[in-house]
Structures are given as C-alpha cells and as structure tokens.
C-alpha cells in the first residue's frame, strides 16, 4: 500500500487510498484477519465488537477520510474517534494497514512495552485521536473536536464510532443534545448496532428501541443502513457530508462477530479471545 500514499492537501480533499468497492471488501476482510490474529496472540481482547465494525472502519480509513499517516498531527485531517474503546483491535488494524505503524506491531497488542494498549491510548499510539475504554464519553470528545474545527474554520470532518450498548450511558445523550444545540454539521456519529452487549442481547439487558426514533427526536439527521454493505455505508457517509445545520448519525445494523461463523451473534466473544484452534478455524473462514 505504501507506494499509493500521497500527501493530502486542501486542493485534493480525498482519501489517500480511495479504494474501490471490491478492494474495500478485501480490506475489511484483512482487518478481520488482523483482529483474530491479534486477540489470539494477546490471549485476551474483544473480537466480537471489533469484527462487527470492520466494514465501517474500512470505509472510513480507505475511502472517506482525509488524513496523512506520515503526519498524524496534520491539523486539517479528518478525525476518527473510537468511543467504543474495546474495539481497539479494529482501529489498530486500520492504522497499521494505512501506514501509521508497521503491521508486525499488531502482534504486540496488550503486551508489556507495547504501544497498543488493551484500550486505545492517545498518548502512545500514532493515529489514535482519543483514549477510550470507559464507555459513553467519545461523543462528548467528538463534539469538542468539531467545535474546535469550526472555531478554526478548518474544512475537516469528525467521525465517532459508538457501540449500541454505550447508548445506555446517559452521557451519550448529553452529548447528543449538545451537538445539535451547537449545530455541528461537521460531525458524523456511527452506531455499531450489533444488538449485543457483554451480558447478552441489548433488548433483554436494556432495550434501546426505537433507537433511530430516539436520535431523530434529539434532532439528529438519522440514517439507518446495513453496516456490512459497503455501498450502503459509503452512501450514508457521503450523504452525511451534505447535511447542513445539524449532525448526522448512521445507525449501522451489524452482526457481532461478523465474518466468523462461530463468533457471529455469540456474546461469548464480546470479551474473550479465540483460542489458537479457534483462531485457525476463523482465519480459514476469512480467506
């Protein structure tokens, strides 16, 4: 990929990879393979919620967002904020594949001395915009980031990935109110609606439905999409860029553990790494 990198500029507001749909699908599969290998090597981690977000993250990093991996602090970059911090493996996989650090480093996940902490740490890992791990806080940070971009008149967009479970946190809705109050049309939230949380199905633990209506009622431009259909994801993200005067939320309907048959819709893999044998089976399915 490295030979495809060129430095973005104001005149060329484009993603440096600009992958086609089939290429994006292959990249999503690659990210999934990394997630399996990383968590299996680490012996712990959260594969389920990382796998469900792989297509969304692939679309953002390899088609939509403007950034320069060789200049992580480029002030006009688009920002990706991972609010669902336990999905750090999918973020690390995307950062490595886009060139922020070597792909080999992924195998240091959760090990002593590694830059790849169990939950992302903005002070350690290039490309990580914000530390996370305590849920419900990323949308607030994204709101502040979007406010700063507007104050500085920067032509950049702020993306934040939320879990559906963290829509149970009160702070998510505090932030939802404020992003509308401040008319932040440079902010796009994506909810990874995989319908599962650690203890089981969200409808059994703390029912979120009607989720889209809640966001609409809070004043957000709300789009529902299939979170594993790259064409639909891209269309939603492009639509969000055109909405004026309010933020957009994309409720991406996904499957927890997507791509690995025995992990799909299986809450056991929320916070449990695959064994070596399970990883082998999973990688075979992801060939």
């Amino acid at each position: 990929m490295a030979n495809r990198i060129r430095s973005p500029s104001q005149e060329t507001p484009a993603n440096i990879f600009n992958l086609s749909l089939p290429e994006l699908a292959r990249m999503a599969k690659k990210l999934r393979r990394h997630i399996i290998t990383m968590t299996a090597t680490a012996g712990s981690g959260h594969p389920g919620g990382s796998l469900s977000a792989a297509d969304i993250v692939s679309a953002l990093y390899f088609k939509i967002m403007r950034y320069d991996p060789h200049n992580p602090c480029w002030e006009d970059r688009d920002r990706f904020i991972l609010s669902k911090g336990h999905a750090a493996p999918v973020l690390y996989a995307a950062l490595a594949e886009s060139g922020y650090f070597p792909v080999e480093e992924l195998n240091t996940l959760r090990k002593p001395g590694s830059r790849l902490q169990g939950h992302a740490d903005r002070n350690l890992t290039p490309g990580v915009e914000m530390s996370s791990g305590s849920l419900g806080q990323g949308l607030s940070f994204a709101t502040g980031t979007a406010l700063a971009a507007r104050l500085d008149r920067r032509d950049c967009r702020v993306y934040v990935l939320l879990s559906d479970g963290e829509c149970e946190e009160g702070q998510t809705w505090e932030a939802a109110l404020s992003a509308v109050q401040f008319k932040l049309d440079n902010l796009t939230a994506v909810v990874d609606r995989n319908r599962q949380q650690l203890d089981g199905w969200t409808r059994d633990i703390m029912d979120l439905e009607p989720l889209a209506e809640k966001w609409r009622a809070f004043g957000w431009h709300t789009i529902e999409t299939n979170g594993h259909n790259l064409k639909q994801i891209l269309a939603a993200l492009e639509k969000a860029k055109t909405v004026k005067g309010k933020p957009t939320v994309i409720i991406a309907h996904t499957i927890k553990g997507k791509g690995v048959s025995f992990m799909e819709n299986n809450p056991d893999f929320h916070g449990k790494a695959p064994t070596a044998e399970e990883a082998e089976r999973a990688l075979k399915e992801l060939e």
């Binding site: 940070f141 502040g144 700063a148 104050l151």
Partner: protein, 328 residues
C-alpha cells in the same frame, strides 16, 4: 518568599471575591489569547464566566446541565490546541464527573483548567448537597492534575494566569463568599512553591484557601501569648512543596494543618506522609473531620465546625505540648 512584604498591608476587614477575580481575569486572558475557550454548565452567572461570555461570545459555550459532557467537550477542544477553562460549582466539578476527569483529562494530560467556585462549607445556606468537601481528595488522587487553592482574590488572579500559561490539567478551587485579603497587589505567585507568611520557631501552621487568613489571625493571638508560630500557605496541593514542609518540621518541631475539607484526602493527608517519612514531629489537624454540614450562613458553619482562628490556636498549643512528651 518573604512574608511582611506581601501581607499585613491590608486592613483585617478587607475582603474580595475569588470568583469575581476569576471572571475578570478571564476577560483579560481572552483578549490576549485567541486560543482560550471557556465552558460552563449553566452556572455562568455564579461562576462569573458570564463576563467572558459577554466579551468573547464566539469562544464561550454553555454546556447546560451536562457536567460529564462538558469535560469531554473540553478535552476535545484541548486536543485541538485550545486552552480550555471549564467552570461550575466545586461539588459538580468533582463528584459529578470524576470518571470523565480521569479518562479524558488526567490520563491523556490534556490542557483543561477546571476552575470551580462555591467550594467547601462556606457555600452556606444551600446545604449538604452543595458543600464540596471531598473535591481535593478526588483531584489530588488524579496523577498529573495540578491542584491549586488560592488563599484570596489576589492569589486567585495569579493562579488563573499561571494555569493559562502552563500546559496540562489544572483544578483551581474558589469560594462563594468574599474572603479576607491575605496578599497585596504585586504579589508574585510561584506554582508549587509554598509561601511563608510569618516566620516562627515554636510550631508551624500549614494552611490552604480560606484557612490561611485564619491561620495568620491565630498566629497573631499566639504571639500575644508568647508563642512564636510560623504560618505557611500551601496554595499548590499537587505538586506539593515537600521541602517547605520538611523545613518547617525540622525548624519548628510541630505542625498543624488547616483546611476547609474532610479529614481524608485533603492537605492534611498530603502533608502527613511527608512529615512521617522525613521528619516525624507532633501533628494536629483542623478540618471537617468525617462529617457533613447542614444549612446555615457561611460564618455560622465555619464557627460550628471549628474552622476558626481559635481552633487553630488551640491545635498549635496541643501540638507544642505533644513535643514535650518523649516518644514511647
């Protein structure tokens, strides 16, 4: 730092509001630095951030009654290069949003200044729910947070200016009522450096915030009784001026710590380990022990809970007496 040059020039009755001093200073800072952004949580008329809001409306954001969200927004602004001041009452700025302070400010070391007003029981009539007396314990437990409790309005101005010029997260604790002036104009504040306001050989009172003026009053009374008491203002609780504490223990042999906070986790809990480790001497503590206060006027509450010059003087005498008892 010397004492006489900086204190005693104000009449004992002179008082000023630390929160008003904060509000006025923000205007000045906002004019000088276009990267300063101010947030509040629906209390701007009380925290006095309304002055800044009127002066620089494009850089003021009222976050409504969303303290947790306010901390996250502050972090996002700071990560983009802004110097952020965020204000609310001390009770909401600490207990209400502690996890956000921890993960969004302390751990990533972001440049946000939490300036909280209405701290302690001197809030008065609003009662138990509004008495922030755990805030220092919470903030001092957060690695990398600079914690400052100004002794008066003059020191408050200096602390706020210093915070604006110093990267990293700060907590500055201010009061609701006007408080006695300890310093005069021209006072120079050094972050992390204790101020010896009165020299003395028999004991040392280490005080912070509104208790500094009371400590000076106590020292005056004690002088009349032949006791030569040192008074030190520790305005910065973190990082702590350990050297001044050790010197006071070595040179005066007895220490009293006075603060408007619960016994646990405040200045006393910061000073005692230093004394125990470096120079064990008798210590006494003037604070709120482990009790909540109820509604009453500020003056009545401070009196009732023993946050007075008389109580400090009594504690000094007790500490001096304890010196005479041989250990064991």
């Amino acid at each position: 730092m010397t004492l006489a040059a900086q204190s005693g020039q104000n009449s004992p009755a002179a008082e000023a509001s630390t929160r008003e001093a904060y509000g006025r200073t923000l205007i000045e800072l906002g004019r000088q630095n276009r990267d300063i952004v101010v947030l509040d949580a629906d209390l701007s008329r009380s925290t006095m951030t309304e002055f800044f809001a009127q002066e620089c409306p494009e850089r003021f954001f009222d976050c409504g009654l969303e303290e947790q969200n306010m901390i996250g927004i502050a972090a996002g602004l700071a990560a983009a290069g802004k110097t952020v001041f965020a204000s609310t009452f001390a009770v909401f700025a600490s207990c209400r949003c502690f996890d956000q302070l921890r993960m969004c400010l302390s751990q990533p070391k972001l440049n946000v200044k939490i300036v909280a007003t209405h701290s302690g029981i001197s809030v008065g009539e609003d009662g138990t729910s509004h008495h922030a007396i755990e805030d220092l314990a919470l903030y001092c437990s957060l690695p990398g947070f600079t914690v400052v409790v100004p002794a008066d309005a003059i020191e408050a101005v200096e602390a706020v200016k210093t915070a604006a010029a110093t990267p990293g997260p700060f907590y500055i604790r201010l009061s609701r009522p006007k408080t006695p002036l300890v310093y005069s104009e021209g006072y120079r504040f050094t972050l992390g450096k204790a101020v010896t306001l009165k020299q003395g050989r028999d004991a040392t009172v280490i005080a912070t915030g509104i208790m500094v003026a009371r400590a000076l009053e106590a020292a005056k009374t004690l002088t009349e009784q032949g006791i030569d008491c040192r008074v030190i203002n520790i305005h910065t609780l973190n990082p702590l001026d350990e050297e001044a504490i050790v010197r006071a223990a070595s040179e005066t042999g007895a220490i009293v710590v006075a603060e408007e906070h619960l016994a646990q986790g405040g200045l006393g809990s910061r000073v005692a380990p230093v004394v125990a480790r470096e120079k064990p001497v008798p210590m006494r503590f003037v604070n709120l022990k482990d009790r909540y206060a109820l509604s009453a006027s500020s003056k009545e509450l401070l009196q009732k809970h023993g946050l007075t010059a008389e109580e400090i003087a009594r504690a000094v005498k007790e500490a001096i007496q304890a010196k005479a008892i041989p250990p064991g």
